[in-house]
């Protein structure tokens, strides 16, 4: 029945439970791929003058890690995510996923945008199911996976609703479900909570944390909210703008789930805030 209720530990090489029905096992993917970003730079051409957006970005995401990237507007964080997702292939440097260079979008790498981008003419259910459209899975498995993920993001009862009938927060949750239903090895989130109100945002942060603990998928999240970054991330990467470059990498070192009031979180927040007042660019290379 409930297949994905097994709490998965956020480390590599998790022992595979063997009492899954074979069809589900086919749909599952092996969560052991590492993402390596090495010396990535990118510039846009505005009026035939190059505008550097990213400069020499390097990072490594271990399987199951939750990495947050924090920075002000214009520091290229969205661009970085789009490069990792494969939506943009024009850059210098290397992006390797599972040892192979990224050359375009793939169902192994999911992306959640700031605007939910659900199709208004499909119900929540249909929107989530659209993620499967290019895969030859049988209908019964699809239905089960969709049902599971609707439960995962807490949208039970809203399967047949249209996007305009649910709140912004709920639509975003549906978008997250859509991104997760293919069981990607890594989930990229581009300011996913930027478009919701402050109260919903706090709630959704906790939901995100719960989902991550349950699924164990690697997550890279971009945000401009420092507290959010520290609350959710195992590792926080601080990006300075114009051009976007890494100025600090902080290992949070606190167990998940976390308490928002934890003084250590507040201390880290202060430290990062200081970064923005006195940036010290570090060349973080592997």
């Amino acid at each position: 029945m409930a297949v994905s209720k097994i709490v998965q530990l956020p480390t590599a090489n998790r022992a595979r439970e063997t009492h899954e029905p074979p069809s589900i096992a086919v749909a599952r993917r092996h969560h052991a791929t590492e993402l390596v970003v090495r010396n990535v730079s990118k510039s846009f051409n505005i009026d035939r003058r190059p505008l550097p957006v990213l400069q020499d970005i390097s990072l490594v995401a271990q399987p199951g890690q939750f990495i947050t990237i924090v920075g002000a507007s214009g520091c290229g964080k969205s661009t970085l995510l789009r490069l990792i997702a494969g939506l943009d292939r024009d850059f210098e440097g290397e992006i390797l996923f599972g040892g192979r260079p990224v050359s375009g979008p793939s169902l192994d790498r999911g992306l959640v945008f700031q605007d939910h981008r659900l199709f208004p003419w499909l119900t929540i259910e249909q929107n989530i199911a659209s993620a499967f459209s290019s895969r030859p899975i049988d209908t019964a498995t699809k239905r089960l996976l969709v049902k599971d993920h609707i439960a995962l993001v807490g949208l039970n009862g809203f399967e047949k609703a249209y996007p305009h009938q649910v709140s912004g927060g709920m639509a975003q949750r549906a978008a997250i479900a859509r991104a997760l239903v293919n069981e990607p090895d890594i989930l990229l989130l581009d300011e996913p909570l930027g478009a919701v109100d402050a109260l919903t945002r706090l709630y959704l942060q906790e939901e995100l944390q719960r989902i991550w603990l349950q699924k164990g998928v690697t997550m890279i999240m971009v945000t401009h909210d420092i507290e959010e970054a520290v609350f959710l991330g195992d590792q926080v990467i601080v990006l300075q703008p114009r051009p976007g470059r890494i100025s600090k990498v902080i290992d949070v070192g606190l167990t998940q789930p976390r308490d928002r009031e934890d003084s250590r979180i507040l201390k880290l927040k202060k430290e990062i805030l200081g970064e923005f007042h006195n940036p010290a660019p570090i060349n973080y290379s592997i």
């Binding site: 939506l87 979008p105 793939s106 199709f119 208004p120 003419w121 499909l122 459209s133 290019s134």
Partner: protein, 260 residues
């Protein structure tokens, strides 16, 4: 502030019918006094009687059916070609670049301005009429389809890329639903233009059964009753066609948030 609703909350708002009722009464009273021996009876009774006569003799249906056939056929031809061209131009970057401005320019030519030209090309008979109707339906369909298709937001394109949608799936579940509202608006416009051009074609080109023919006959014989009958039928059919497409719209687009 709707004072009427405030004062009479349980009565439906029938104030709109007041001017119509007034016209009706004036017509009923004065219709018998239509000026001069040239004018046949222009009273309501006359219209009614004439209507009955025409229905009984089958002439009304013969004319009405001819017009309906023209609009259906012309719209089918012009509309389908228009949709195809609009789709092609909307989807293909190069076709858009090459022919887009041409399309927008050609639409500036008033449809009835083409009557003399079509008259020379096709003669003044049925083919010219059909060509006119088809052309009238072509442009709104082509332009609206074109606009709707090429406007597909990058946001949706990127989602389609991310989830590796296949071409057929993309067409059916992304492009078509997105473009449908615009296409339906184009459909309404095309149908309305087609209907107008049917009447115009029947008035300008050779005589043949049709509502335009009814109007023209009424004009020649100074029979206001025939003309009024014709106007009622033409207007009524136009309204019915519009209402039908609106109902279709409401059904196909039920996913849309309702507007007040």
């Amino acid at each position: 502030m709707n004072k009427h609703k405030a004062r009479f909350p349980h009565l439906p708002d029938l104030r709109g019918t007041v001017p119509l009722a007034l016209i009706f009464f004036v017509w009923a009273l004065k219709g018998h006094e239509a000026s001069g021996p040239l004018f046949q009876d222009a009273s309501i009774g006359a219209v009614f009687d004439t209507g009955l006569d025409l229905v009984k003799s089958g002439a009304l249906w013969e004319n009405y059916r001819a017009s309906l056939l023209r609009v259906v056929l012309g719209f089918a031809i012009g509309g389908s070609i228009g949709t195809a061209i609009g789709l092609l131009l909307g989807v293909s970057f190069w076709m858009d670049r090459l022919f887009g401005p041409l399309l927008t320019a050609l639409r500036q030519i008033p449809i009835f301005g083409l009557v003399p030209l079509l008259g020379l090309w096709f003669g003044m008979g049925e083919s010219a009429k059909l060509a006119l109707v088809a052309l009238a339906a072509f442009f709104p369909m082509a332009l609206n389809t074109y606009e709707s298709v090429r406007n597909l937001p990058t946001a949706y394109r990127e989602v389609a890329a991310l989830y590796r949608f296949k071409l057929l799936y993309r067409l059916r579940f992304v492009l078509v639903p997105y473009a449908l509202p615009g296409v339906l608006t184009g459909l309404k416009l095309a149908l309305s233009f087609a209907w107008i051009s049917v009447i115009g074609a029947e008035l300008f080109l050779s005589a043949a059964p049709g509502l335009g023919n009814l109007l023209e006959a009424g004009r020649e014989q100074f029979r206001i009753d025939m003309i009024v009958l014709g106007i009622l039928l033409v207007g009524g059919t136009g309204w019915a066609m519009n209402a039908a497409v609106t109902a279709l719209e409401r059904h196909l687009l039920r996913w849309r948030p309702a507007f007040s």
